[in-house]
């Protein structure tokens, strides 16, 4: 059971035609640039926009003719949209009160959800006084309050401070796995989609252009857009500080040197990314200031117009983007050995905080 959506929806002259299947307990990400139709999909799933063809089924039941308030959908909106005149607790209790749950009962259940998802938030605080991360935690609790069958997360990390993202990301992962229904994550930043989702669908101009696991999409992007969007090199691992202020990120398949903006404790989990365009390729061992230098065999060369993406079987594996002219000049082809280099400061780094409010597995539900 879960979500099965296959529909066409129109907004003015723009139309969206997509198919989306998500199992319970899974996160499926819908990734696309601004204007690709993501918010049209959100509105169609919520019910503020009526679909013109097809069907939306949740747990095998048609919901596309139901008004928004009767659909079993919990939503975390972009900009959170917490109600400004209600406290954190009243916000979370709102979906229950709207469904005629008695006030005391609604407040009690809202309090429990807040405790689990946003323990750092004062239940009586107004949204205005909370940080972006706290607001999204409250918004997540509010979305879960009515025990939905589909959780819709619309760019939940967009207005959240970078330092608060890892904690929120693991909370989302935890919630999606345990709340019992299917989760759809709408994103235009590939990082969240690729790290959280079991399945990613790319949407461009109202159509899904590619769909697959994050690995499938990363290893064989089908369009230049997909390559740009998901071609980023991602590493997860643990940090060990170096004496000069830098740090080494140890992944399961090789180490890279990074430049954290603050002191790190050995063993801290972190997520690092480097854009393919920031990786240089060399025929011989390069001399220079780059602290990350790897030698490895070329696995694949994909030429797309004037640009080329080169996949390397280095440790860790890397994807570099260079010009097609360079490929020709350096006579790059699969099987030959090259050197790749990039600077530690080019690596963007997200360090997991010791965040006590991260939910423990299996604590969700009533």
């Amino acid at each position: 059971m879960g979500l099965h959506a296959d529909f066409t929806a129109h907004r003015g002259t723009f139309d969206v035609d997509i198919e989306l299947d998500v199992d319970d307990g899974e996160i499926s990400a819908l990734l696309g640039p601004n204007g690709a139709g993501k918010s049209t999909v959100v509105d169609a799933l919520i019910g503020t926009l009526t679909i013109t063809e097809g069907a939306i089924e949740i747990d095998g039941e048609r919901v596309d003719r139901l008004p928004p308030e009767e659909r079993p959908v919990g939503v975390c909106f972009q900009d959170d949209l917490l109600f400004p005149r209600l406290s954190a607790l009243e916000n979370v209790a709102f979906p229950l009160r709207a469904r005629k749950v008695a006030k005391e009962d609604a407040r009690r259940r809202a309090g429990q959800l807040l405790d689990r998802l946003a323990s750092a938030v004062d239940p009586d605080a107004r949204p205005r006084s909370m940080s972006g991360g706290e607001r999204q935690r409250v918004a997540l609790a509010r979305a879960l309050a009515p025990e939905p069958r589909l959780l819709l997360l619309d760019e939940p990390f967009a207005n959240v401070d970078v330092s608060a993202r890892p904690g929120l990301r693991s909370l989302v992962r935890e919630v999606a796995a345990t709340f019992g229904g299917a989760t759809v994550l709408i994103a235009h930043e590939p990082l969240d989609a690729l790290t959280l989702a079991t399945r990613v669908s790319l949407i461009e101009a109202g159509r899904i252009t590619q769909s697959g696991t994050p690995d499938e999409i990363r290893s064989s992007p089908r369009s230049a857009y997909a390559a740009d969007l998901v071609g980023v090199n991602l590493f997860t691992g643990t940090l060990s500080p170096l004496e000069d202020g830098g740090a080494v990120l140890s992944t399961s398949n090789g180490d890279i040197v990074v430049a954290p903006d603050r002191a790190v404790v050995a063993g801290t989990d972190a997520l690092a990314s480097i854009r393919p365009i920031d990786i240089s390729l060399h025929a011989m061992e390069p001399e220079g200031s780059a602290r990350n230098v790897f030698q490895g065999e070329i696995a694949e060369v994909a030429i797309d117009g004037e640009r080329a993406r080169v996949r390397l079987a280095t440790r860790p594996p890397l994807t570099a983007e260079i010009t097609a002219a360079s490929v020709a000049r350096m006579e790059l082809r699969p099987g030959i050995d090259v050197w790749a280099s990039f600077k530690a400061v080019e690596v963007s780094l997200q360090i997991e905080d010791d965040d006590g409010s991260t939910v423990a597995a299996g604590t969700l539900g009533r």
Binding site: F83, R85, P95, A98, R142, P146
Partner: protein, 260 residues
């Protein structure tokens, strides 16, 4: 940096300030304070004050009851002819009140378009009654509620309503729990303005409802009539209106700064 102010500007500004404040000061200077007890204890003053309060508060309530839904339609729907509707609704703000009174007579007077039918079918006559005064007052005050509420609604992101309905709220519940509380400051400001306007209403009331002591003679009408026989009494009645207006102004200022 403060800009330098030419002397001529200072002069004209002072003339302007004196011109506005002088009549109020003159009211205080010219009031026959020795007669205050007799002037205000006369049956006329008390009845006019009571009637003014009843009429202005009822008119304000009616303005909110009808004006808020009108503002909603103007701000949140796409009914064709909305701009015409808005112009019509707002017209009483700029219309001379006496014209409003004549219009009300033509519509609701005993021989009026609707008034004749009301009288024939239900034996209801609005002219020369307190309800007539209330309707005339509502006619001029309601636009202020509509204007303030519509501006307030436009400043509230529609997505809050969409969020509420996606979270399980019916449109009616969303309005009650989310929109009206967010609208609070602007609605209050509109209501206070409408009430102040209602309290001072003269032209439409005297034209449509007449000037009957105890029934349609509100404070402004009483001031006008008393002036002919008892100028000192008229000053005291006027001072009551001044005091109420000053209080409204002070309350409004706090409201506005709170909202901002």
């Amino acid at each position: 940096m403060r800009s330098r102010t030419p002397t001529a500007l200072w002069f004209l500004a002072i003339v302007g300030a004196v011109f506005v404040s002088l009549p109020l000061i003159a009211l205080l200077l010219r009031a026959p304070w020795g007669d205050i007890a007799t002037s205000l204890s006369g049956a006329g003053a008390g009845a006019a004050l009571r009637l003014s309060i009843v009429v202005s508060l009822t008119a304000t309530a009616l303005s909110i009851l009808l004006g808020v839904p009108l503002a909603w339609i103007l701000a949140r729907t796409r009914v064709p002819g909305r701009s015409v509707l808005r112009a019509l609704v707002v017209l009483p703000v700029v219309l001379p009140p006496v014209v409003g009174g004549i219009g009300l007579l033509a519509a609701l007077g005993r021989g009026g378009v609707v008034g004749r039918w009301l009288y024939d079918a239900f034996d209801v006559q609005l002219t020369f009654t307190t309800w007539g005064a209330i309707l005339a007052t509502t006619f001029v005050s309601m636009p202020l509620v509509v204007l303030a509420t519509e501006a307030g609604l436009r400043s509230i992101d529609v997505r809050y309503e969409q969020a509420a309905s996606a979270l399980g709220a019916t449109p009616r519940y969303a309005i009650r729990r989310i929109v009206l509380p967010m609208l609070g400051p602007q609605l209050a400001a509109g209501a206070v303005l409408a009430w102040a306007r209602a309290l001072g209403e003269f032209g439409a009331t005297i034209t449509f409802a007449g000037n009957l002591a105890g029934r349609t003679q509100t404070l402004p009408l009483a001031v006008y009539e008393t002036r002919l026989t008892d100028p000192g009494g008229a000053i005291f009645l006027s001072l009551i209106l001044v005091v109420i207006s000053v209080v409204v102004l002070v309350v409004m200022r706090d409201r506005i700064t709170q909202a901002a």
